[in-house]
């Protein structure tokens, strides 16, 4: 009875809250998207602007797969045309901007890349007056180490890294990163195919910081990754989806948001955040310093922080949201999911990537490619043997041609 009473009270509270929210004036753009009316959305409508947005692949609710098309709603609302293109990694985003091959208005790099871009003066400070929705971002996602004053970035999504495992193939749920080194599962373990994420796992296993400060630290972690190579089936990224759901591998580290997608499709999978702690990443919206339409970009960022839009995006992407109102509107299963929104204790044990000094970065890249090409038993003899073979072949060819020439002379 007490329970029922509580339910009734809470429903009423929720209803009043909902009514209170709807009392605030809204503009309805589509059936699913209404935005705050307290903002001059279409002030640039008659300037015929095209906004260049560069985001991760499949990282916005774009209308595919029966999702809500937030981009065309933005175009309807503001009269600004969006040119939306996608990238595959922070590094290719950086290379593209640095080469001068393209100018964008809105980009969505991750934490450490934001720090690096700020250092190199590649980002423009945001005019917060144009982004009133910044106040909707939860406090725990502001003032991050890569951008302490929130001058350059507005968080878009966040997440953690953990181990996704197949409950049918793994007897005991892993609790530690050690599981990815376990010989019992040799040949059934997948590993990140990107140096930063892989080194983070090695570091956490050793109880070190995932932001190595010295070259020695990098080398120690590289040793650990080399030791792991024997049990690793493959170094992969998105193939993890198929390999895990197809039962081709027992364990793999991956991003929490994607783990939820995988578990939805294949219920035999589960996800755990190891006790040593993990990486906590944030992807945030920024404006490059050479952007041509800064104000339009700020309108876009503000729009992306509207609760309806944020909800549509989070629904589509599956990662976690930094917007309070969006979290409140999720269903309970998601809201209290330990994968998407881990408890405070777990979060206390996480670490964010920071920008590393160049020498550490290059040491890491070196150690990574060294590790990838490293082979137990050594492939050192392969190179000279192949060289000798090539030389022998060339010699044979020359000899043959000479003989032919001689014969032709007769």
């Amino acid at each position: 009875m007490k329970k029922l009473f509580a339910v009734v009270v809470w429903t009423m509270v929720a209803l009043t809250l909902a009514l209170g929210a709807s009392a605030q004036e809204m503009i309805q753009v589509t059936d699913d998207i209404s935005v705050s009316a307290d903002y001059d959305w279409d002030r640039l409508a008659d300037q015929n602007i095209t906004l260049y947005v560069y985001n991760w692949g499949l990282y916005i609710s774009d209308g595919s797969d029966d999702s809500i098309d937030v981009l065309s709603a933005f175009e309807d609302l503001t009269g600004i045309k969006v040119n939306y293109t996608t990238f595959d990694s922070n590094e290719s985003l950086y290379a593209k901007l640095k080469s001068g091959g393209a100018t964008y208005d809105v980009i969505v790099p991750s934490d450490y890349m934001i720090g690096k871009m700020i250092q190199e003066g590649m980002l423009a400070p945001l005019n917060k007056e144009n982004i009133p929705n910044f106040s909707k971002i939860g406090e725990s996602y502001t003032g991050m180490a890569y951008d302490p004053q929130d001058e350059y970035s507005v968080p878009y999504t966040w997440g953690t890294v953990g181990i996704i495992y197949n409950t049918e193939m793994v007897e005991e749920a892993p609790t530690s990163w050690d599981a990815l080194w376990d010989v019992e599962y040799a040949g059934n373990i997948l590993m990140f195919n990107n140096s930063r994420d892989a080194f983070a796992i090695g570091a956490k296993k050793l109880g070190m910081s995932l932001n190595p400060q010295t070259v020695e630290e990098v080398e120690i972690i590289a040793q650990e990754l080399k030791a792991q190579k024997n049990v690793v089936q493959a170094y992969v990224m998105d193939e993890i989806f198929d390999k895990m759901s197809g039962g081709e591998a027992a364990m793999a580290p991956y991003y929490a948001g994607d783990a939820i997608t995988m578990i939805d499709e294949s219920p035999q999978l589960d996800f755990v955040i190891p006790e040593e702690g993990t990486n906590y990443f944030v992807d945030a919206m920024c404006i490059p310093a050479n952007a041509k339409n800064k104000e339009a970009a700020e309108i876009f960022i503000n729009y992306m922080c509207e609760p309806d839009v944020g909800l549509a995006n989070i629904d589509f992407i599956g990662y976690s949201t930094p917007i309070k109102e969006v979290w409140e509107r999720l269903d309970d299963e998601m809201k209290y999911s330990p994968i998407a929104y881990p408890s405070d204790e777990v979060m206390a044990n996480t670490e964010v990537f920071v920008t590393l000094p160049d020498e550490i970065n290059s040491a890491m890249d070196m150690a990574w490619s060294d590790m990838k090409s490293y082979d137990e038993g050594g492939s050192g003899w392969m190179v000279p043997v192949l060289l000798v073979l090539a030389l022998a072949l060339t010699g044979f060819n020359i000899w043959r041609r000479m003989r032919k020439n001689l014969r032709n002379d007769y």
């Binding site: 260049y52 209308g63 595919s64 293109t85 595959d88 080469s99 001068g100 091959g101 990224m237 039962g247």
Partner: protein, 280 residues
């Protein structure tokens, strides 16, 4: 007995070879009908990926751009390349050898070098243009986008045209051309009425090669596309999350279109051949 074994072995070899070539495509087409997004478990038959493909604006736009760039760049490259081949054919032996080797280099050059060097050139243009604009010569700020994409595609397509058309040109009997002149053609008429018809098959195949390479190209486009996005780039950017099965559907459609083009053209050719045989 021995020959029988030998034949089974031969047949097995051919089947194995064909299997390697066509099984992956078969699997891809099969999984474009898969109900779930998985690429390993077949859960049920559906056409929904085809349906959602045609409502996915991003993929369709990328496809449209790829096709547009392929067609424009192939047409331009074919025209330029044919002219170049004719010019090269008329050269002296030594200069012909030099020019042919120079135009062969881009073909053997790794694509990434072509891509990066073109990008550097265009970036160089961007810096040069600020100086020129300062001097009062009005030029667009930046070429990046459609112009760079087209220029780079035409650039890497050109050598393929030259090397397709040149051999055919060399096979031509110059006396036919001379005969046409003797019979009252002027140079232009002789070229269009006598030389061109004989070159047409080579030019057509060069054009098709260009289209294929252009649609296929990832590396060079990647460096030179500016804020545009061709189909391979769009697909590649999906790899952090997961390549959508819509891409399987799209690839299946493209494969079938190409297959039917080949079958139709082959059928026409063989019919033509039979007709010619009969006439003789």
């Amino acid at each position: 007995m021995k020959t029988k074994h030998w034949r089974t072995l031969q047949r097995a070899y051919v089947i194995l070879l064909m299997g390697f070539m066509y099984l992956p495509i078969g699997v891809m087409i099969a999984f474009s009908f898969n109900e779930s997004k998985s690429r390993s478990n077949f859960t049920g038959f559906t056409l929904s990926w085809y349906k959602s493909l045609f409502s996915n604006e991003m993929i369709l736009e990328a496809l449209a751009l790829s096709l547009l760039v392929a067609v424009i760049s192939s047409v331009v490259a074919t025209v330029l390349g044919t002219m170049a081949a004719i010019g090269i054919n008329g050269m002296g032996k030594k200069s012909r050898l030099v020019i042919e080797n120079i135009s062969y280099i881009p073909v053997v050059n790794p694509e990434i070098i072509t891509g990066v060097s073109l990008m550097l050139l265009f970036v160089g243009y961007n810096t040069a243009v600020t100086v020129l604009n300062g001097m009062g010569i009005p030029l667009p700020d930046s070429l990046f986008g459609m112009p760079t994409l087209l220029i780079s595609h035409i650039t890497f397509n050109l050598p393929y045209v030259i090397f397709n058309v040149s051999p055919k040109l060399r096979q031509l009997d110059t006396r036919i051309y001379e005969a046409a002149l003797d019979l009252g053609c002027d140079h232009r008429q002789a070229f269009f009425k006598v030389v061109m018809p004989q070159l047409t098959p080579a030019i057509l195949s060069a054009f098709l090669i260009c289209i294929t390479y252009s649609i296929d190209d990832f590396i060079i486009s990647y460096f030179n596309c500016g804020t545009l996005q061709t189909l391979p780039i769009a697909i590649y950017s999906m790899t952090r999350k997961k390549v959508s099965p819509e891409i399987n559907a799209l690839s299946a459609i493209m494969f079938l279109v190409i297959l039917s083009i080949i079958l139709i053209s082959n059928a026409r050719e063989s019919r033509q051949y039979k007709r010619d045989q009969r006439r003789i």
